[in-house]
Structures are given as structure tokens and as C-alpha cells.
């Protein structure tokens, strides 16, 4: 069995960014394994703009963002094993992968970075009644058909879910010749960026129906229409508001789920809220030498933040590889989400690990707030607070916390209250 220094599973933005960074930090032997015939992951099909504003200070399309990293990876001599699916990962970092050229590939990695990304929630996960005809697509699958294969999944489309992928697809479909009838969103607000609501829906007069959902799918062989209805405060459909919308296609943009089947095989502890591994500040999971970054860890709204996170994971892996002797289980400070927040990442701080002067925490609010106050509490009370404006569940909140605060407390809770002190 070949021993490799650092193996990165997944060659999307997270994997590529981590590989480049690890190489920069002196890790000589970096291998990326990717299941597709080209690296770049989901960016290949995200042909719209909006990528790179943080990392490159310019607005790029997905393929451009990916190509910059692919080019850098090639210049730095990073090996990318393509068309290869990792099918097993153990907690002692043995990897079993398969491809047509080499058959089964067995590797032992001194460190692993998980960068498998996420998958889309499906109709089954949200249980829409009705038939199961052809013409129901997840937004990402439709995007693949249109942008990679050049095929139209439909002519008349209803989109369920107003996350950014759904909004972007509304525009793509329209530009490529389809008629998007409406976008239905079960929540009272859209989960997409305002910019996308303006440029993907308003530009084309596509109605956004908030507090609406699809309650039935019609058509035995192919979708012929859907019934949509308003929902009440508990998000239950009010059937008296039901109406039929004819269409040949229903696009689902109802959320993304980190893809952690391999992580589970390796006994990595999964955070039930994020759907991704529990990590410390170096993005190390609960299994030593296995790190995680990008959408496999938690679903990001901006790819730039994936790159930044991947760099942290790469640094963590590089430090781990330099370590001479095995460490005993370290002392950790748990960081837990309180009221107003769905999750906080990293979920714990390893006090023996490297700690920067300030540590970044990422979190998501449970609901939109025009103003909110972020409180960091320990058993000694509030240790830090910050006022925030225009909070959206779709936009990650980040906060920097001083090293001392982390070192002086044995548990931290971060919460978010609506409104703010002093009305500021």
C-alpha cells in the first residue's frame, strides 16, 4: 500500500485551495482525488459571475475562479487523480478508491483533507405529494444539463425554493429560452442574495411567491402542472389558497446537504445541525489527521469563504504533518450556538493547537434581523459583544475573537438577540 503525505478528497474549490496552500506551506506530496474527468467541482457549471471578490478582488465566473486554482495547482506540481471515486476511508486514514485505469487504488495518507462538497436535497426529503413523472429536477442537475451538456430540461418551469441556486437558474433558464412561471418560497423571506432577486427575477418579471409551496405534482409521464398554495405561520399549506400552475418542469432548490458518507465511515463526529464534521480551529475533525473544509463542513454562500477555510485546513494539515510525536487527546473549549443562531463553527477550540491572535468564528442566524446583538458568554457572563446590521440566514456571520478570551474560558456560548443596545 502506497503511503502519501497529504490526500485531499475532492477537487472542487475547497480541495484545490487546500492543495495549493498546503504546497505553499511546504507539504511536498499532495494528492487530490476527484471523481470527475476535470477538476473544479461544482464551479464548472456555475458559469455566472459573483465569485472571487474577496480572494481575487475582482468578479469572476465559476469556471474562471476554478481555472486560476487549477493553473496554480499544475504549476506547483500537485497531482490530481481524476475519474476516481473514493469508496472507503478509515479512521487510520486508509483510502480505497476506484477508477478504470488502475482498478482499485489503496493508499495510506499521513493526513487527509475532506473536501467532498455537498449534494442537493431532493423531493423525497421534502415529501411533495403527487405523481413521480419526468420533469422534476434539482436546480443543480438542471444547471449541469444547461451549462455543461447544452440541453434544456424544460420549456415552462416552476421553481420551488429561492436560494441562490434557484434564483440563478431562473435567469439561466429564461436566457436559454424557457419560461419561468414563478419561484415559490415556503419561508416569508428569500434565502437568496438581494442582488440575485433583482438581477435574476425582477429583471425578467418572474414573480417570487413568498409563503408559498408546491402541494401537488400533476402528470403521469411528464410534469403537466403543479398546485401551489400559501402556507400559514407553521408552514402548513392553506388548501383554500391552492391554485394550479401549468408547467412541464419543476425545479427544486430546497437546500444542500454536506456529503459525509466517507466521513462517517472514518468515524468522524458529525454536527447534526451543519450536517458536517465537528472541527477545531485548524479544521481538524474529531479523528486525528483528518481535516475538513468547504461545503462538506457546512454549506457556504460565497466560494471565497470556502477558499479561506480551505487554507486554514491546509495549515492545520501541514502543522500536523510536521508534528514529531503523537499528541495525547488535547484539552478543548467547546463553542456552542445559543439563542438566535443555528450553528457556530469551529465547534471547539484546541488549546494545545496553534492559536492566532484572533480566531474567526462563522455562524448563521435562525431568521433575518435588521439589527442584532451578538453575545459571547462563558460561565462568567458576557465576555464580548458586537452589534450587527442586516442579518440574513443566507449570509454567514463572521466574528473575530481574541485569543485571551478563548484561553481564559472553559466553554463559550455565542447567541444573537434581535435589536441592539443604545439603538445604534
Amino acid at each position: 500500500m502506497r503511503v502519501r503525505e497529504l490526500v485531499i478528497i475532492g477537487g472542487g474549490p475547497a480541495g484545490l485551495s487546500a492543495a495549493v496552500e498546503a504546497k505553499k506551506l511546504g507539504v511536498e506530496d499532495v494528492l487530490i482525488i476527484d471523481r470527475e474527468s476535470e477538476p473544479g467541482g461544482i464551479l464548472k457549471q456555475c458559469i455566472h459571475t459573483g465569485f472571487g471578490l474577496h480572494v481575487f478582488k475582482e468578479e469572476l465566473t465559476g469556471p474562471e475562479y476554478a481555472e486560476r486554482f487549477i493553473a496554480e495547482a499544475q504549476e506547483r506540481g500537485i497531482e490530481i487523480m481524476l475519474d476516481t471515486m473514493v469508496i472507503e476511508l478509515t479512521d487510520d486514514r486508509r483510502i480505497l478508491a476506484v477508477n478504470s485505469r488502475d482498478g482499485l487504488v489503496e493508499l495510506k495518507a499521513r493526513a487527509v483533507i475532506l473536501a467532498m462538497g455537498c449534494r442537493e436535497r431532493t423531493r423525497g426529503a421534502i415529501n411533495i405529494p403527487g405523481f413521480r413523472p419526468s420533469g422534476i429536477f434539482t436546480a443543480g442537475t438542471a444547471q449541469y444539463f444547461i451549462n455543461i451538456e447544452g440541453y434544456m430540461p424544460g420549456k415552462e418551469v416552476v421553481i420551488l425554493g429561492s436560494g441562490d441556486v434557484g434564483l440563478i437558474m431562473a435567469r439561466h433558464l429564461t436566457l436559454e429560452g424557457a419560461k419561468v412561471k414563478c419561484v415559490a418560497e415556503i419561508m416569508p423571506y428569500s434565502n437568496g442574495l438581494t442582488r440575485n432577486i433583482v438581477q435574476c427575477l425582477q429583471d425578467f418579471n418572474i414573480p417570487l411567491l413568498l409563503n408559498h409551496t408546491v402541494v401537488n405534482i400533476h402528470g403521469k409521464k411528464r410534469v403537466e402542472g403543479v398546485t401551489i398554495a400559501e402556507v400559514d405561520l407553521n408552514r402548513k399549506p392553506r388548501m383554500e389558497t391552492a391554485r394550479y400552475v401549468s408547467c412541464d418542469t419543476l425545479l427544486l432548490s430546497v437546500g444542500l446537504i454536506p456529503e459525509n458518507e466517507l466521513s462517517r465511515m472514518a468515524k468522524v463526529q458529525i454536527d447534526e445541525v451543519t450536517g458536517g464534521p465537528v472541527v477545531d480551529q485548524s479544521m481538524q475533525t474529531t479523528i486525528e489527521g483528518i481535516f475538513a473544509c468547504g461545503n462538506v463542513l457546512h454549506v457556504h454562500d460565497v466560494v471565497d469563504l470556502v477558499t479561506i477555510e480551505a487554507r486554514v485546513a491546509a495549515r492545520g494539515a501541514a502543522d500536523f504533518l510536521k508534528q514529531k510525536k503523537k499528541r495525547i487527546r488535547p484539552a478543548t473549549v467547546p463553542v456552542i450556538p445559543g439563542e438566535g443562531l443555528r450553528y457556530v463553527l469551529p465547534q471547539r477550540i484546541d488549546l494545545d493547537g496553534a492559536l492566532e491572535e484572533t480566531q474567526n468564528f462563522f455562524m448563521r442566524s435562525v431568521k433575518p434581523m435588521d439589527r442584532g446583538r451578538l453575545l459571547i458568554q462563558s460561565d462568567r457572563g458576557v465576555v464580548m459583544s458586537k452589534n450587527l446590521k442586516f442579518i440574513r440566514p443566507s449570509e454567514m456571520i463572521s466574528i473575530k475573537v481574541k485569543r485571551e478570551i478563548l484561553q481564559q474560558n472553559n466553554c463559550l456560548k455565542i447567541s444573537l438577540c434581535e435589536g441592539s443596545e443604545n439603538g445604534d
Partner: protein, 119 residues
Amino acid sequence: MIKEHKVTCIVCPAGCEIIARVRKNSIIEIRGNRCKKGVDYARNEVIEPRRVLTTTVRLENGHFLPVKTAKPIPRELIFKAIKELKEVRVKVPVKMGEVVHQNVAGSNVDVVSTRSWRK
């Protein structure tokens, strides 16, 4: 004749709903914005909104090449541009950033490839 335009500002997450009143293509009033940036944004959106168009064009090898307009083009030209691009065929190899179609829809803006394709 005075026309009222409603514009959602996207400069920052506040998302101000701005009302711009226009007479004969000149703006006579802008309100609803919470900061100055909103004024410029609303003016551009009302007088001549521009967008970067991203789509795909066919490669001669049968695959599809992602492309974009090198700069934003007037929004009203977008469908004309799409129709023009429907007929475009690009030879491989092609490099990221290479012009694949000039002066799309008479906008004086070129369309460039957003990825490289070797064969």
C-alpha cells in the same frame, strides 16, 4: 409625463427600496435610499441598466464553452446578444479570456471565453 421606477438597491445588504421619478429620460427625484451610494445605483438602473451576460456557446468539438461579456452590456440588448451567440461556433483550443465574438449585439463589448479548452 412623469414615470416612477421602483429599484431595489443591491449595493449593500440593506436592500433599500428606492423610488426614482423620471421625466423625459432625466431623473427628477430619488427617495427611499438610506445612503448616497443608492442614488448612483438607482440612476444607473433607471437610465441604462447594464448586466454582464453569461451563457454558453458551442465548440466545434460538440461541447459547450462558458462565456461572458467582457463588460456589462445594456440590459435591453441581452436577448439580442443571446440570439447572436446561438450561431457562434468556437474552434478548440481556446484559452480563458480569449475573445470568441466581437461587439455583441452592437454593444461595443466583446464576448470572452471563461475557461480554457485544449482539445
